[in-house]
């Protein structure tokens, strides 16, 4: 994944900064609550939502189960339609392929459609290193790029910015990248959008190479699909002579008919629209020779940890994800911690189960992500492909603390437990022992009750994590079981 995120501190530490930043908290609260309410309304309009959700889940599960078959079918169809298919096992391979393809055109700049896959592999940085400038054309991605920032949301990468901040970024940075912001730019949405439009227009008209991802790839015809709201994608997909699409291998659907499901569930879950304003579909270059569109089309199929993820029975459901962001918008942890704390282009609940699978759990940030959740279940409830995120989180917690079998880079391995959990493991074992011996539990409860007046209000060590923000409940004079035995005689008489 993108080098910019490596070496991140663990989630709790990274989140602290966001929790203490009132502007960021305000921005995120406003944005997530607004879209949360809109999504709920858009979903409630659809009488067969539950069926659509189930259908989406089944289509994705079926496709993933037969991914080998559909990938080959897709490759054949794309090739037959005049496209060229490349296979990339990891980020480095994908970046090298795209860099070479751009270099072969002789161009030194590309325009980009908003794409999670290219963010995941850090394509912009790789192109930059080869002297190729990649221009983001999605409004929010543009804000992030101009602000030398990192995306903090899948759909709205600049969700952490407010209008005033965006105005300042435009005014200060646009001139460095091309057409400067108009004089006297204010922070009204219309003016900001117009500034971006003018700035981007010259890039659209000049660019000879476009780079995109795709929301879906239809195996039966080799058709790629991009859904978007701004029309920048349509520009990048139709104007340049060469189009390079980098797409994760899990984005396949078998047939056009399957799209019917996702073209309903994705916009409503994502932007709370009944239908997204722009749906672009293209099939190789066959059609475009006669009309508009790129003359050369390359499809780079990206693995980058997906096959490893697919090997895990519980975790593989994460590959059903259609990147709608509904789980981010509803997540109480994301709302307080912000997207950057997740140390990946995939923040929020889906990021917390995707990153530790795509990248493994070796780094501090990745090992901490499965714990970045209160397991409240709101994410699972809104997921349009029914990914049981809490289930996968707990499964990955197990992988972190207990280790166990996994697949990394195509090889079966046995992971060792992550460092830093020895005290917790000992405490869990001790608790299990006490809970397995009711007499011991009772002795402990009695001891605690009898010494209750001596208990400190603020705990030292790990207990500080509780008493730093909350008071402890007063201990009762006797545990329930003592009362029960006094009053009911302990019917089944353990001690």
């Amino acid at each position: 994944m993108s080098g910019t995120f490596m070496g991140m501190p663990a989630f709790p530490e990274a989140a602290r900064e966001a929790v203490d930043n009132p502007t960021l908290r305000g921005n995120l609260r406003h944005a997530t609550h607004t879209i949360r309410a809109k999504r709920a309304k858009a979903v409630a309009e659809v009488s067969d939502w539950a069926e659509l959700r189930e259908a989406g889940k089944r289509i994705k599960d079926h496709t993933l189960r037969h991914l080998d078959h559909y990938l080959v079918q897709l490759e054949e169809a794309v090739t037959a339609a005049g496209g060229i298919v490349h296979w990339a096992a990891d980020a480095d391979e994908a970046n090298a392929i795209v860099t070479r393809l751009v270099q072969e055109t002789g161009e030194s700049e590309v325009v980009k459609v908003k794409s999670m896959a290219t963010q995941e592999i850090g394509l912009n940085e790789a192109l930059e290193a080869a002297g190729i400038r990649a221009y983001e054309t999605d409004l929010a991605e543009l804000i992030v790029q101009l602000g030398k920032d990192r995306p903090s949301h899948i759909l709205v990468p600049a969700i952490h910015r407010n209008r005033g901040e965006i105005r300042d970024i435009f005014e200060k940075e646009m001139g460095e990248w091309g057409r400067p912001a108009p004089e006297g730019l204010t922070d009204t949405p219309a003016e900001l959008a117009e500034a971006a439009r003018l700035h981007l227009r010259e890039k659209f008209l000049r660019a000879k190479v476009g780079v995109s991802g795709a929301n879906f790839m239809v195996a039966e015809t080799g058709t790629l699909v991009v859904v978007e709201s701004e029309g920048n994608g349509r520009m990048c997909l139709t104007l340049p002579e060469t189009l390079i699409s980098v797409v994760g291998i899990e984005k396949i659907v078998p047939t056009w008919r399957d799209l019917e499901v996702f073209l309903q569930t994705l916009p409503r879950s994502s932007t709370a629209e009944r239908m997204n304003p722009y749906t672009s579909m293209w099939t190789g270059t066959t059609d475009s020779r006669a009309a508009d569109g790129p003359r050369v089309f390359h499809l780079v199929l990206l693995d980058n940890g997906r096959t490893d993820t697919l090997a895990d029975e519980v975790g593989r459901q994460a590959l059903r994800c259609i990147r709608c962001s509904a789980c981010l918008n509803v997540c109480p942890v994301y709302e307080r911690a912000g997207g950057h704390a997740y140390g990946s282009v995939y923040p929020g609940p889906i990021g917390a189960i995707l990153s530790p699978q795509l990248r493994g759990t070796a780094s501090e940030i990745d090992a901490s992500l499965p714990y970045a959740s209160s397991l409240c279940g709101a994410c699972y409830e809104v997921c349009p492909v029914a990914i049981d995120i809490p289930e996968v989180l707990v499964h990955l917690r197990e992988r972190v603390v207990q280790g166990g079998p996994a697949v990394r880079e195509g090889n079966k391995v046995v992971l060792r437990p992550a460092k830093g959990h020895a005290a917790e493991r000992a405490a869990m074992r001790a608790a299990r022992w006490a809970f397995s011996h009711p007499g011991a539990l009772r002795a402990g409860q009695r001891l605690a009750s009898r010494t209750r007046r001596a208990h400190p209000r603020h705990l030292p060590g790990p207990g500080k994590a509780w008493t730093g923000s909350r008071d402890l409940p007063p201990l009762p004079a006797e545990p329930f079981r003592d009362w029960w035995q006094r009053t009911h005689g302990g019917k089944d008489g353990v001690q």
Binding site: F11, P12, A15, V19, D20, R25, P332, V333, R336, P370, Y371, A372, S373, S374, L375, C376, G377, A378, Y380, V394, L396, R397, E398, R399, V400, V401, Q402, R425, M428, R429, A431, R432, A434, F435, S436, P438, L441, Q445, A448, P462, A465, W466, G468, S469, R470, D471, P473, L475, P476, P479, F480, R481, W483, W484, Q485, G490, K491, D492, G493, V494
Partner: protein, 251 residues
Amino acid sequence: MRVALFLTCVNDTLYPDTGRAVVKLLNRLGVDVDFPMAQTCCGQAHYNTGYRHEAEPLARQFSDVFGEYDAIVTPSGSCGAMVRELYPRMGERARAEGRGDSLARTLAPVVTKTYELTEFLVDVVGVTDVGAYYPRTVTYHPTCHGLRGLGLGDRPRRLLRAVKGLELVELPGAEECCGFGGTFALKNSDVSAAMGTDKVRNAESTGADVLCAADNSCLMHIGGTMSRLKVGMRPVHIAEILASTEEEPAV
């Protein structure tokens, strides 16, 4: 019908009043309830923190202790969800690991017989008016595992609305997590505290005297935050409200 109270380790140790309230309430409704003394913990904290293998013996023990009863009632949405939702999953995982059906078979009997208290009252006993009296303004926080895990729906609110003297006021953002989340409260204490503070501020804005929930672990976090923020509200478990009568009002 032989009914067992699965009080939970947290309630047994820290909130015996809730246990006494459940006994009083069920007895008043003509349900004879037993408290099997060998009960301890369902294993939820172990399981949810990633120690599934430590949780397994606790689940087996739960099944040994409660397997003979016709119904198992618990005043905790999350421990109820542990048994109902996660015990079957533990059985499935054991099977997937090639350890056969033994765990699934051992746990199966308790899964379908376990009820959260408000479910038991509404669905099994068949009452919504339990004859309670509680002259306070109350706002209700639906805890996550009860709401989304067990699907308690409007059962707790229906029970509260039928309580004499009680004025129920809606909690803004009611369905948002309070930030407890078991070990989450310790591992991500900053985020947990921020969520708790927002929950408390929302509760405060209702002007209610009491914040009610059906899970004391969440109330321990919310109440601890209220106390630290010096908010003059009390966290009260729904069992204590439903047990309160004109003759014997809750304090």
